[in-house]
Symmetry: D2
Subunit: 281 residues, 4 copies
Amino acid sequence: MGRLLLRCADRAGLVAAVSAFLADAGANIVSLDQHATEQSGGIFMQRTIFHLPGLPAARDELERDFAERVAGPFGMDFRLTEAAKPKRVAIMASKEDHCLLDLLWRNRRGELDMSVAMVISNHPDLADQVRPFSVPFIHIPATKDIREEAETRQLDLLRGNVDLVVLARYMQILTPRFIAEVGCPLINIHHSFLPAFIGAAPYRRAKERGVKLVGATAHYVTDDLDEGPIIEQDVVRVDHRHGVEDLVRLGSDVERVVLSRAVLWHCEDRIIRYGNQTVVF
Amino acid sequence: MGRLLLRCADRAGLVAAVSAFLADAGANIVSLDQHATEQSGGIFMQRTIFHLPGLPAARDELERDFAERVAGPFGMDFRLTEAAKPKRVAIMASKEDHCLLDLLWRNRRGELDMSVAMVISNHPDLADQVRPFSVPFIHIPATKDIREEAETRQLDLLRGNVDLVVLARYMQILTPRFIAEVGCPLINIHHSFLPAFIGAAPYRRAKERGVKLVGATAHYVTDDLDEGPIIEQDVVRVDHRHGVEDLVRLGSDVERVVLSRAVLWHCEDRIIRYGNQTVVF
Amino acid sequence: MGRLLLRCADRAGLVAAVSAFLADAGANIVSLDQHATEQSGGIFMQRTIFHLPGLPAARDELERDFAERVAGPFGMDFRLTEAAKPKRVAIMASKEDHCLLDLLWRNRRGELDMSVAMVISNHPDLADQVRPFSVPFIHIPATKDIREEAETRQLDLLRGNVDLVVLARYMQILTPRFIAEVGCPLINIHHSFLPAFIGAAPYRRAKERGVKLVGATAHYVTDDLDEGPIIEQDVVRVDHRHGVEDLVRLGSDVERVVLSRAVLWHCEDRIIRYGNQTVVF
Amino acid sequence: MGRLLLRCADRAGLVAAVSAFLADAGANIVSLDQHATEQSGGIFMQRTIFHLPGLPAARDELERDFAERVAGPFGMDFRLTEAAKPKRVAIMASKEDHCLLDLLWRNRRGELDMSVAMVISNHPDLADQVRPFSVPFIHIPATKDIREEAETRQLDLLRGNVDLVVLARYMQILTPRFIAEVGCPLINIHHSFLPAFIGAAPYRRAKERGVKLVGATAHYVTDDLDEGPIIEQDVVRVDHRHGVEDLVRLGSDVERVVLSRAVLWHCEDRIIRYGNQTVVF
């Protein structure tokens, strides 16, 4: 099974061109989703899942052909992947276990289409919990003072080795240099509220404001800290009987679910980014 | 803007054939959704929205051409509609106003892409509430004893005049003859629970069972009463402080929202039926 | 049926003192909820529903006795109301009808325990829709330039005549003077997002940010515009296929439900305010 | 901190009697919730959390006094527990890990107020996953043919040793004899649908029916299999793109959350049963 994702300026004949190309190549379209941001003149995005016997051997040639015959003429960005090749993923965490363990556990159950290459943490605390999953746990101390050195060590491990980095409650800031050099997308999870509380002690401030919902947002990481394209959000109801600790606990429940959905969709190549937004097919 | 919905046995080349046909006809695909029930050998369904200048004039020819060149060879059921032509809808109600008024009100706001041809009720109670919406209100008494006569009068009004009948808490049973002869789909709303309570006094029995959720299901009507293809469902939380009356009130809130979603999606030609299921694109 | 709401510094014996007082007075406690903000040393709040034959006649004396024998010694704020006396409510609206009509419609169904004294609008547009509900519709033009004069006219109508003012999408700013002089609580509804968008065109900006949820917040009005104690919040899921207009439509659906819940709870004396928060019993 | 739960026929003076008793005993009421099933003549239930220095030593005498002076005269069922004494819990599971692991993991985080005495399984598969949590894993084979023998072995381990048995996807039927002799409540989790699917292969049948929601119900176990008092329910949305496997996966997510909430509430003594219902304070 192959997956073809593409994005270009909208114009007539795009779907026809792509589906004709795939039919010519002997591929059967199993699923096709597309979206145009405007009725006309917007951005066009498409995700096509196709079945093509012998895809692994034929892939490079198919990619070249598509680039030459379709993507070039239409000015498309595109990505061709094989469903059978799970994404290689690194998870970065600090001391909190809920997001990290949920990802590892779901992956062991076969729910996530990924291969976890390593867990990197700036604390040693979670090593014992990661070990039973047979995933390398690498402790790289990181603080504001040794950020550059820490990031260099992290980059040495990550660059070229993974297709995705998941920040599963990793509590250190990553520099623009890290994001530029890591060479793959990063997904982050953070709390989110209505209205939002940015900065320190969000749950305490949310409690003081008497919010009736707490939630979480998973997003791609960009240089604008916590402002990257949103992938998924969800909330849970709270009331006056919930103290700050309860908000944190219930927020954690939402965080792990929201993050795992975002990672699943990324690993299934369901997400296309444009502007500061995502389309999730 | 045109909408092309189709359903057939899955096989290679379907998307290509349809999109090539539309490109040839000078149409630009604005949106395309498709779904196959199996990876191969299942049922294939597709909804395509396309832009074609001069569609109203060209429509009949386009339909003939498509039937001949694509639908015939591939054995497709298909439907070609114009977005600019709102569905003609009849609403049938009894004494409860929440579903009926919500549909009329949403339509007045322009939220639903429909033209309400008439409201038929077996009681006169709601006439005053319907009048301000400038929609004909027709009172046709109906009981078990005069069912045949009542249905004959209803069919005289409906047959050929409407594209959809919405049962907005219409509390009389409709016979298979009515469903066969009315000549258009019917959408119904009924309560639904976890676990479900079929039969009389559902909210009282749900209360006795101590349910923590009440909900509603909108579905197409078939001869199997309340067992037709589900279009939409939703629920709301309740607890021990809610009495039977509260369950009814909260259930009504869910009913009107679920029914209006189902009607909206139908009027936008988003729904394709197969077996006893629906695909909602 | 009587309702006794109270708030004071927490200390031992509060529940005992209140329930002994009510038992002495011949009242049977039907329902009692209480909440303390801390395990000790916090604020104590309690809502008690009691049954007392002859309450309307005995009310004034009961209130005096309670003030003298319980509220005084314990330093309580309290409020004693009769369930049989619905709150007198004024609704203020502008051009959008969804919140206003939903309140009027729910009240006609008997869902809200209130008597709508008047609708005040700064536009004449909604007069025709209000009339069938037999509620006075008063048009008081209001703009930034004539704010003081408009508020004076509004206050003349409201002061002493209503127990609650509901801002059902009233799009003019109210001055601190108005809030101080109106002499009753005000409930407002506004959109809310994760992360929040303050200021103009919130739905457009939310769309640009690619949010996956839109929501609404009902709150009491204080001098801090839109920052008063939250009563209720809810959200609905959206995705990339929803345009700005869809967000507005779906947001409206949440707004009317959230506002009607807040008004219901207020009218049932379920809400106690403290700090910038609410307890909803 | 002490917890007093009681249930009796409703009558005037109940709250006063209980709170006077506690005040006399030097206890400060931290939280009090009560519920009457009818306005008068129904069942009265109350949960009181109180602070009393020296409770562990004074407990037995307090219990005797309360029985004599309050519970006896008012015909109350009651239960007096200490918050500091976590419930002793046995978890029974088969091959599926999601509910079991979530309970163990939440307990390790300190989210659940329980001490897990043992895990009993009719399969050895989950032993490796339980071991890191330092909880005894006991494999007791159980099939229809050796049910009596298996239950005898289970009862030998459970009777007198635990305060609660949680069936975390335990796939064997338990006999009325087991339920009668185990001497403590049992909580079970099962899927639930709108409309419900009882019997084998529920997710496949739900898929064939085209449901738009899948859910889970946690309930106390009675002799009527899967018909005991509901503690908690929740649902998640699905659509036509979800296959049977997706329904199972998403259903599992709901199951673990719903079960963990039910167990938490039970361990915090929040639940009072009456008839076939629960009150969750």
